[in-house]
Symmetry: C2
Subunit: 642 residues, 2 copies
């Protein structure tokens, strides 16, 4: 067997932070002089590195503030409506706004108050006060006065103020130079289709993007193969040319992870392994006074770990506040358990349903990029804590502006492909509505409505006894909740099969007879109940169907498993089969409704949804194009409970 | 006389807006297709022009979620601590995180749970569940699912999600192209020193900067001379090449303003003149379906007018919310009168003193760029209103983040050059403190403390009867206010004179005898009282001193008037004279103290100021370098009132 270095330490986060910051201080990272001189024309958004003082006064000369004539105020002392004063041409001079006040004059009379005479003179009906309508030198700012303090982010008006006072170049913070080095022989570029075992290299783009957002001049290194010599050379060069190096992957303990040993060889490893989740195998090292941060390979782990160690470094170096969206208090909708001794970072979905802002833990997969795309916030469970309970108040670090969270309609329940179309359409309109949808099946949606955690739930539950959809379940499970049940669609359910139906499957019996692999939906899903009913009608017990225990959470995941060959068939809607080009054997048509509590029926976000499904024929066309839908009752109230 | 076109209309704002928006709709401005295709690598911060769907599933294949071995879960059904199962080499395969699951395997066992045997086999002590530690195909997202809705600003994680699913180029909003054309023969570039009557061209930089901030691809045209032929040619070309043209200056009614007539000749003038203040002479026109907005020449008028007409256009075109910092409720500290029939836009300084957020109208000058640099917000007084009263609650549009407003220490009172140094030093530290200072003289500062409108006031008032500074005034004017009087400095006051003292002035008597021009400070300023005392002691009545009635508000403004030759002498501090290289004849040394109400002595911002003046010796060195200061009592409590 290959040697494995599986002994990554478990340094507590606080201790790791402390060690790292001492090391950074010792290597002079925080005292770097990061200054460069730029033209004021090019300094928008940059940060002043020194206080900026006016070079010249503005205005630079006494100037007319009006269109009119410049006069000597003493000449008009006697002027009145009854006995106007007539000035001969040499006693006044015409000026436009901005013109210099000619020598010997000390007031301006507005053009509207001047009666010009044919002989070139001017008749005036009012006295003037000294310096009236004159912008005196330095009225706005006097040479040597402070225009902008150090550490100020430059706005367009600031550029104008500097240029107005003769400041044309200024010292600004130079952006620290950072390079992200992806490592791994399995990495391929995003334009190629990955073969099994190949991984698309997109982490370096995400990491460089955040470094850029945090004020660095970030670059991407080309991927380095799993070869200690290549890695050593790349790290040495990057450390010499950058203020900060981020190394991605190669920090855990797989067979081909050389990062730690190479870093120990050419630099000082300050910390290897921190008691955080996700992100444990992080490496913090210094090569020739340049900090190198080795991040785990999973995108979510890499991003969260970089936020913990690198964001703070840049905030301190640049003297910035990088807490973009702030924190918000929310109430946990369910408990999260966490191991003692580990600082855990949990992605959170937020939804304001009624008065309460509910925080729900999002998907846990460390590879799940979409969980960060969709995530609204981060919850930190400190090492000294075993977790948080349902109903507990927590502080959430926002990952998106609060306004977007407030604009979020919370949809929990059964999954349908129409939701993507709906989410996009509502996001287009202004002010936009975001849809946050959790696909927990029809029963999960009903429970969310009961706990008051969702604005609406999607539901397609067939009551075997009555043959009726949804209403019997509502009567039984939501007896006291005033609500409306509104139809979204009828849709075809059936078996999704590989393209061309190579096994010639026409139903469940073929599956069992030929020992083919099924893929199922999770318990509580309407589609699971349908599957069980169909199998029951055929007299097929679950244990006879291979793969019955392998569960997925959406029609699309089932379709993907069939498309990849992991399974030979799965139950789902025609739209999902069509999306992935699968064959489809129809089993039944079912009704899919929206449960909306009366409490939210007048919520502007809900009103928008209802308007969309009831009146937007373009939207209807798009649904029908997905395949397998019938919209004969769309928007109709199927049942109401007061 | 030259012909003048002084008849600019006074269209009410609401009507102007309506006309303009109909014209924009009619010329197709809002329905422009603004789309371009960019590489996902280059799309950070751009806005999606269409919904983005996954091209491929992610993961693209079933892959190991751990470092370990892939197995068939059925082979381990019987494994336990007591009777481990031994797998021969052909029944498992080693996998690293991310590796594809080899054909025929359906579970992964973590490396930590595997005991490798010398014969190449693996000993296992636990059963495995189907698909354990396997990331199944499409676990994160399935091909054809929605990644990002239309109109979404792309973040680094979004780039990762797109690349992970094979999306490498996307349609994004093309930025509308805008050009700013400055006009006027008097304009010079910022690197030259302006001669009388010349104006530095910096408006186009400010305007292009804001257009950029609002999402346009903004460019600056070179200045166009006051020549209708040149202007006509420039406008025609710009309209053909841009989505939007901004013309600056030439919109009022001076002798050489050709904008309106040229626009009428080559396009349609929709509105010329709107009942707004500032910004009345705005021109809204269309040339060949391209909107052209003619803005007034004064920078503040130009910026405010562009905010009113152009920001809205871009927000609507790009379907963005451009209200950057939101609105805030504040209480007016003094009344603002406004003409009926005119929508007035008032720059506001905000300060949270105690519980109340006070809004104070800032400087009114339309040319005062610094008033917008320093301004915190904008108050709109609608046309139907005669103004707002003191104590009235108003809604203020924020021009800077609320956090900066909350970090503001409000200083009202006498001006001293140390304030610039202090403002810079406090801004450097984190969290920073901003100083907003209003220079209204020592008496104005005392009154602000009385009205509870300032955290501190600067004061240098000599009581003639006792020869004592400040304390007698506090006892008389602030008898019931618990406070501390803390010394900032002693400073030299004297006559500031042109460099080299060409008139050989040694005191006020020389000024009167030679009929030289004085420049005074405003009533209520400590320096004004000092001037009056010195003149009184010399027996000089005000009317004998030319220029006695010409008032300025700061030492630096007086120094600037002397430096420019507008006046021959003015009273002020040595630091101001030194800053502008003036001669200085000392008159007296005076004491300058800070009045701080007991209520604010523990305010973190005040604590920072006191720490700075009491302990920062570098700061002391910088003060002494200004000239004319003595810091023998800096930070000492001179008087206390409980």
């Amino acid at each position: 067997m290959t040697m494995r270095n599986i002994y990554v330490k478990n340094t507590p986060l606080a201790e790791a932070r402390k060690k790292w910051h001492s090391a950074l201080s010792a290597c002079g990272f925080y005292t770097k002089v990061l200054t460069e001189t730029v033209s004021v024309d090019d300094c928008l958004g940059r940060i002043t590195a020194e206080p900026i003082f006016a070079h010249r006064s503005s205005p630079a000369h006494n100037a007319s503030a009006m269109d009119g004539i410049s006069v000597n105020f003493a000449d008009l002392a006697a002027a009145s409506e009854a006995s106007p004063v007539i000035l001969p041409p040499e006693k006044f001079q015409q000026v436009n706004t901005g013109n210099a006040i000619p020598e010997g004059f000390n007031a301006v009379v507005m053009i509207e108050d001047v009666h010009f005479l044919d002989n070139g003179g001017a008749q005036l009906h009012m006295p003037a006060t000294p310096w009236q309508h004159i912008r005196t030198i330095g009225e706005d700012i006097v040479a040597t006065e402070l225009i902008l303090p150090e550490g100020h982010r430059i706005r367009p008006i600031d550029q104008g103020a500097m240029l107005a006072t003769g400041v044309t170049t200024i010292p600004v913070q130079r952006k620290p130079k950072a390079t992200v080095i992806p490592t791994g022989s399995e990495l391929i570029q995003p334009d190629a289709a990955p073969k099994p075992g190949e991984i698309i290299e997109f982490n370096s783009r995400i990491l460089a993007g955040y470094l850029q957002d945090w004020g660095a001049d970030a670059h991407r290194h080309k991927p380095v193969q799993d070869d200690p010599d290549l890695l050593r050379a790349a790290l040495k060069k990057a450390a010499a040319e950058n203020d900060l190096v981020v190394l991605n992957a190669g920090a855990s303990a797989g067979t081909r992870d050389y990062s730690a040993s190479v870093l120990a060889e050419i630099g000082d490893v300050i910390v290897h392994g921190v008691a955080i989740k996700p992100g444990k195998p992080v490496i913090l090292a210094i090569i020739d006074n340049t900090p190198v941060v080795g991040l785990p390979g999973y995108p979510v782990s890499a991003v969260l770990t970089m936020r913990i160690f690198v964001k703070e470094m840049l905030a301190k170096l640049l003297n910035h506040d990088l807490d973009q969206h702030g924190h918000i208090e929310a109430t946990m909708s369910r408990p999260v358990h966490s191991a003692m001794g580990v600082d855990e970072f949990v992605r959170i979905t937020l939804g304001r349903v009624g008065q309460t802002l509910m925080a729900t833990p999002a998907g846990k997969g460390a590879g799940a990029v979409m969980s960060l795309v969709r995530g609204d916030g981060l919850l930190t469970i400190p090492a000294g804590n075993e977790g948080v309970g349902a109903g507990e108040k927590v502080s959430i670090e926002l990952l998106r502006p609060k306004a977007e969270v407030d604009a979020t309609l919370v949809f929990i329940g059964s999954h349908d492909n129409i939701l993507d179309l709906m989410a996009n359409q509502l996001h287009r309109e202004k002010p936009f509505t975001r849809i946050s949808s959790a696909h927990v099946g029809s029963m999960g949606g009903i429970m969310a409505i009961r706990r008051n955690e969702a604005h609406m739930a999607g539901c397609h539950l067939l009551d075997e006894a009555t043959g009726e959809y949804n209403i019997p379940f509502i009567k039984r499970l939501l007896p006291n909740v005033p609500l409306q049940l509104i139809n979204l669609c009828y849709r075809e359910q059936g078996l999704m099969l590989a393209k061309g139906n190579p096994h010639n499957i026409s139903g469940f019996s073929d599956m069992v007879n030929r020992n083919l692999m099924f893929i199922n939906r999770q318990g509580g899903a309407g589609t699971r109940l349908l599957t069980d009913k169909v199998m029951g009608d055929l007299g097929i017990p679950p244990e006879q169907l291979a793969g019955y225990d392998h569960e997925e959470y959406t029609h699309m995941s089932v379709a993907a498993a069939v498309a990849s060959g992991s399974a030979d068939a799965g139950m789902g809607i025609r739209a999902a089969a069509m999306a992935l080009g699968l064959d489809f054997v129809p089993v039944t048509e079912e009704r899919y409704d929206l449960i909306i509590p009366a409490l939210f029926i007048k919520d502007p976000k809900v009103i928008k949804v209802l308007e969309l499904i009831r009146t937007n024929t373009m939207f209807h066309q798009k649904i029908l194009a997905l395949g397998g839908y019938d919209l004969r009752d769309i928007g109709q109230i199927m049942y109401q409970q007061n």
